[in-house]
Symmetry: C3
């Protein structure tokens, strides 16, 4: 197989202290020196599969077609959990079959194929039971960039693992109940309530106002951060299209003790 | 516009936990797969525009001509603060017009042009109001590497924002008063006093000694860190040519409670 | 010298806050825009030469032949400690002569040559005494990728610095005494006891069991992390082939107060 350009992204919980990520890059570039490697993040909280699922879910679509996304949060490494390749309309995803691709399975791809990686001749020659990123996932990603077809790596499976993600509920036509699903480095708290859902209840009475409530506190919906100047809790639509709670030039999570799992309610309040 | 090699650097306060930087790289490489991207740092303190200005000020000159430096510390994102391209003799700079390029405006470039970016056809198709790094700055940087001229992105402006930076004062011919402007990861405290300024007062009486004082403590000027072996506070000329306070194999900032804004005085003391 | 592709890795204690690493990359790419640069880590504890030695020792072999590994943990920068190039069968290493390459000298390379870098025309034009990463190591690495031979950079030396690393002792044929030499971001504690050493005492009586003891606690040897589900202390063979102490989905170092230097004993216990 000839070397050719190809884009590989890495998303892991390996952090920035140890050489694990660098070692994976060495393995990839040894097999294909023409590959381009982009770090999405290595700062996933240790063993937090859902955080990784959310991270790759909000990131992958900004990359070019045929990008190979390697995602490794893998507490079950070495056990019989399967290494897999997920293929969608536009991208490839490589990682452990532990639910890390749950939001990819749920995306709008028309085609979806999941391959159980078993073809050991594409692995590093001596594989261990603690670092499949180095021994399996990195070399398989490199071979994919070299043009090896997914069918060569193993058989298709349909019983891949999907983790439940918190869904939004609507107790009535003008109320949405969701929750915080991610807190970013600025302390902004991103919820699972989408802009379209806000629009749907808002369209019932465009004269009315949206009341957004979390932890007994009511917040106003703004368009951008610096629309306010005080240190109160406000909300806006995040860059990924979700309802987000923020404090202007402050850390909403720290100041208002908001964390993943906190309930957020949205109500349509008639004009007063 | 043809793809061609081009170097883009990134300096942000996005940190290393979230996928924001990775997403920007995806946007750039989708538009120009031949671009090379270098991270200067993503560890700027959240919303600290001056720290970013200082960081790009001390870094840019080490990159090759025509490098495109994207700098994003942008608490005003989504407001009417302008996205701009700054062009100097050697480089391009892209970011918000909030003073982040203050030290570039003050540098010795003979040519200087600032363009207000308004040409929306170079933006991502759906732009939001919270992540212009993804929606405006990354694509504009990519289009620049593909050879689009700065004039195509919008009109020139001259009323760009410049932030005041602390300047050194000289109460008399043998005294300099400056301050700490940056503390690095080792705890070294870098001041705004330049080596040339030290040389100027020193040349008045080369027999005399320089007394460097901060927080009531006097330090001696050394040539390099390991010239001393005890844990006292010393000073030397930093890699950027500034007076710097240090502790050998220790953290000067932590051990002597030195922080940004602390006053540092230099006096010429006659030989005793 | 013509530009040509070449792989350079970086391992430093520069951290992720300051622009030092970005500046080094600017220097390299200015000299050779075709170089590929991989970060192994910049999270080495400040001034910890042994940690850097261990990190590059466990990483380098995964990179392709002729890779140039730049390692900078350099408290003696500016003093008369020498800048060196180490050449082995497969790789080049560049950094200060302070013991950071101790484990490279001890590796199985059949050829080994150490060059004292003195040829100043390969340095940045104005070199300082605090940042040889920028002024000496980065440009020398770039020139190496362009095909300059090591002999051009200076003379060979044989009195390079080697640091003592803790070695394993065997008080008798069925007992090994070693120690913890590295704790990774997950809190896993890696020891200096190699899998081969475990196999050697195990082969004496394959019916017997290995007892692994640290801090008065006995642990069982497992094959992979998720073989257990409780939060006890267990051990396995790490990805680098060393005995490693771990807690499944937990931080062994924090939970059991295990740190670098702690003694770990292995005994062959007859079947009960």
């Amino acid at each position: 197989m000839a070397n050719q350009p190809g884009l590989i992204t890495l998303t892991t919980d390996f952090g920035y202290k140890d050489p694990f990520v660098g070692i994976m890059k060495g393995v990839i570039l040894k097999l294909n020196p023409m590959a381009t490697i982009v770090d999405i993040t290595h700062g996933i909280s240790p063993h937090n599969i859902k955080e990784a699922a959310f991270t790759i879910g909000m990131s992958h679509s900004f990359f070019s077609a045929k990008t190979i996304h390697v995602v490794i949060v893998d507490p079950g490494v070495g056990s019989n959990r399967r290494p897999i390749i997920v293929r969608t309309d536009h991208h490839y995803f490589i990682g452990p079959d532990n639910g890390v691709f749950s939001l990819i399975y749920g995306s709008k791809s028309e085609t979806l194929g999941v391959t159980h990686i078993t073809a050991e001749h594409y692995f590093l020659s001596q594989i261990g039971q603690t670092f499949h990123g180095r021994d399996i996932f990195a070399p398989v990603a490199a071979w994919l960039t070299k043009g090896v077809e997914t069918a060569k790596f193993g058989d298709m499976i349909t019983d891949y693992v999907t983790l439940p993600f918190p869904s939004v509920s609507m107790p009535n036509k003008t109320t949405i109940e969701g929750e915080v699903i991610y807190v970013d480095r600025f302390g902004n708290a991103i919820t699972n309530i989408k802009a379209e859902e806000l629009n749907a209840i808002y369209s019932i009475n465009p004269e009315a106002k949206l009341k957004i409530v979390t932890k007994g506190k009511q917040t106003e919906l703004k368009n951008y951060y610096s629309e306010v100047t005080d240190k109160g809790l406000y909300s806006l639509i995040s860059s990924a299209g979700n309802l987000e709670l923020f404090v202007y030039r402050g850390n909403a999570s720290a100041l208002f003790e908001i964390k993943v799992g906190d309930i957020v309610g949205v109500m349509l309040a008639p004009p007063s």
